[in-house]
Each structure stands twice: as C-alpha cells, then as structure tokens.
C-alpha cells in the first residue's frame, strides 16, 4: 500500500497577515492534512487560518535557471525610490 503523501502547510498567524509556509506533514487526504496541520503547527496559538497543498502540486522554479530568471532585475535600480535625488528639505516622499 502507498504511503501517506506529503503536504505543505501555510499558516496565517493573524488577520491582516499573509499565509506563510511553516512546514510539511503527511496525511492521507485533504481533511486529514488540515486537521494534522492544526494539531502539529498551531499548538501554541500560531494561527487563525490554515492552507494545505499536496507537495506534488507545488511547481518550483529550477535553480539552474536562476541566472536568466532573477539576475536581469538587478540593474533596474530605477524601480527603487532611492534611485531618485530629492532636495533635503523634502523629508517624506
């Protein structure tokens, strides 16, 4: 018989914040994954909402392509506010 598949767990720690990946676990189905996530990852009031997704459904970028994926953003400094010179008198903009 097959083993319980692996699931990734995302927890919203409080309203207003995004769900963040906090770990993984094994479960036979989605319901069990949610319940296991509740029991494993929110024992200390860590969350108000849980997402689970079976690990095999996560599509990840390949680190071998990191160069073409992420390097081109490096020299686009004009996307950042510090690129622009302002007179000192203007404190907030």
């Amino acid at each position: 018989m097959k083993n319980w598949p692996l699931w990734e767990v995302f927890i919203r720690s409080k309203n207003g914040l995004e769900h963040r990946h906090c770990g993984s676990l094994h479960a036979a189905d989605a319901n069990m994954a949610l319940e296991n996530a509740r029991d494993v990852y929110t024992r200390r009031m860590e969350g108000v909402s849980i997402w689970v997704v079976e690990s095999k459904h996560v599509v990840a970028s390949n680190p071998e392509n990191s160069g073409e994926l992420f390097e081109p953003a490096k020299d686009k400094v004009y996307r950042h506010p510090t690129f622009y010179d302002l007179p000192d008198e203007i404190k907030h903009m």
Binding site: M1, N3, W4, C22, G23, D29, V40, A60, P63
Partner: protein
C-alpha cells in the same frame, strides 16, 4: 569531473563561504546530501525514541500540573521528529525509508535514550541535563548551512525553551522537599550526568565527521567546545539547588576561565552506541511495534482517501464554472 560539475561545485562552495543557505533544489555534492540525510534523520530518530523514556512516566506523574507539562513535552518531541523527518525528506528520501533504517539498526540515535528512567527524578534530570545539552547543540544548528534543517531548528529551539525549565523546576522542587526527595534528585543526577556528557559525541581528536561537518558549516562548533559550554552552564545550576555533579575532577580553572572536568568512560559510550545499552532493545522494539501495528491504520486511511477521490471525480461535472 566535467567543466559543468566543476562550476557547480565552485558555486556551491562559494555559497557556503558566503553563508548563503543551500536549498533543496540547489546542486550539492552527493556527500553533502548523504551526510545531511544521516545527520538530520539521526536527529529525528533521537526525538522520537526520546519520547519513550519520558513517556514511561506520563501515566505516573505525581500531580496533574506535572502530568500535562510532561505530556506536552513528549508531544513536542513527536512534533520535532516530524519537522526533522520533513527536512530530511527534502533531500530525496521518504519517512518510511528512514523508519526502516531506524528499525533495522542501520541508523543511529542519541545513545542517551537507551538509559532507563527509574524514578520520577529522572524526568527532572532529563529535562534539565539532556534537554540542556540538546539545546546547546540545537542553537548552534539554527545557523547550519542547509536551509530546511536550519528552519526546523529555529522552530524546535523556540518550542524547546520550556523543556529545560520544566526539568529544572522538578529538580528544584525535589531539592526543596524532604530528605528522601533530595536523595532522589541527587541519585538521578548521578546516573544522568555522564551519559549527558557523552551526548556531544567523541572528542575532537576521535571524531571522524567533525572536520567535514565544520567545513560545510553543518556544525559550527566542535564536540569538545559544545561539551565545555554544557559543563560551564550546568555547574552553577547544580550549585544553586544544592546538588553535586558526580565528577571529583570538576573544578574551576582560573587560567582558562572554564571548568576542568574528568575523563568520560568512552568504553561505555561505544558499548551503548553499538546497541548494548540497558534499553536499546526495548526502545527499538517499541518503535517497531508502533509502526507494525499502525500499518493497517495507515493503509485504511489511504484506501479511504482513494475511494473518496474516485467518488468525487465521478460526481464532478465535466466543465466547472468558477
């Protein structure tokens, strides 16, 4: 080695040098992967085997407050085992394969858990000494080079902070109690001190893995350095509650600014590591029993999940409007 491999290795080594974490999909030398599987799973096994000696006293805890605290602690250890197995799984091995290695005796776990918990004071001693020693090691590991392992350690360290306090509080209460209770505490310290010292592993001179582990920043301190930290940290804690560490050579060395301490009985260490400690057989037998007896449960849950998925597929309309 092809040019491509040389480039990958250089890139990997640069990451380690720059303290950039290695993540699961990053290229890594096969030996790095294997060493991590070994070390992380060994750590995971230690957590779940470690549940057994303490679990032994849950049903007999002397008060309700102690019972819930101990139960929550043992439960945390299951959680920590789970986090660590998950970290190991990112390296391309399944939890079942890791269990198989534990059950067959191929994989090791911390030898401390092969000692019996004889009295209630042992629960105090384990929390104080064993968790104390573990925390020193684990704090170092929050900074280890493999991302998933480091993240698991951060989580574990956060949760562990109550474990050692729980143990020390038990010892302190015993020391403030009757003569009989104090003797119980001293006896537990006598039995658990040296095994705790052994938890840091062989001396640096004898350790076969240390050099490589340091180079990869898997470990950032040597066994002997960590052991020294443990002694320096624990001695004043023992003094404070009036207990005596069972080492006649233990004394403050003004010059070093550290404690000197006696020789560890390495023969005993290797005997226990090789499977001949007081409880090795029981510990593995308990794990194997839980696993074997749980098989029908795990299988049934899988079968049910598959049936449900089929049912759902059969009732689903062909095109769904969101």
């Amino acid at each position: 080695m092809s040019q491509k491999e040389i480039n990958l290795l250089e890139d990997f080594e640069q990451k380690i040098k720059d303290d950039v974490k290695i993540e699961p999909k990053n290229w890594m030398p096969e030996k790095y992967r294997k060493t991590h599987i070994r070390q992380i799973s060994q750590h995971a096994h230690s957590e779940i085997v470690g549940m057994l000696p303490e679990g032994n006293w849950v049903s007999r805890a002397p008060t309700l407050r102690r019972k819930v605290a101990l139960l929550a602690k043992v439960q945390d250890e299951a959680g920590h085992g789970l986090y660590l197995y998950s970290a190991a799984e990112t390296l391309g091995i399944t939890r079942d394969e890791l269990f198989e290695q534990l059950h067959s005796g191929k994989a090791k776990y911390s030898s401390i858990f092969n000692y019996p918990t004889v009295t209630w004071a042992d629960i105090g001693a384990i929390g104080w000494l064993v968790d104390g020693a573990a925390i020193i090691n684990q704090v170092m590991l929050t900074n280890t080079s493999y991302g998933p392992y480091a993240r698991a350690m951060v989580r574990i360290c956060k949760e562990e902070s109550f474990h050692q306090r729980q143990g020390y509080e038990i010892m302190m209460t015993l020391c403030n109690g009757t003569e009989e209770q104090k003797e119980m505490a001293q006896d537990a310290l006598n039995r658990w001190w040296w095994p705790s010292m052994m938890m840091f592993g062989p001396t640096d001179a004898e350790s076969t893995h240390t050099a490589q582990s340091m180079e990869w920043k898997l470990k950032r301190k040597t066994n002997d350095e960590l052991r020294q930290m443990f002694v320096d940290q624990t001695k004043p804690q023992a003094d404070l509650i009036g207990l005596t560490i069972p080492d006649k050579d233990l004394k403050w060395n003004e010059e070093r600014g550290k404690h000197d301490f006696g020789e560890i009985d390495w023969e005993e260490f290797w005997q226990v590591v090789k499977g001949h400690g007081p409880c090795n057989k029981e510990r593995i037998a308990a794990r194997v029993k839980a696993y074997d007896e749980g098989k029908w449960v795990r299988d049934a849950a899988m079968a049910y999940a598959e049936k449900q998925a089929q049912k759902e597929a059969a009732t689903q309309p062909i095109s769904k409007t969101a």
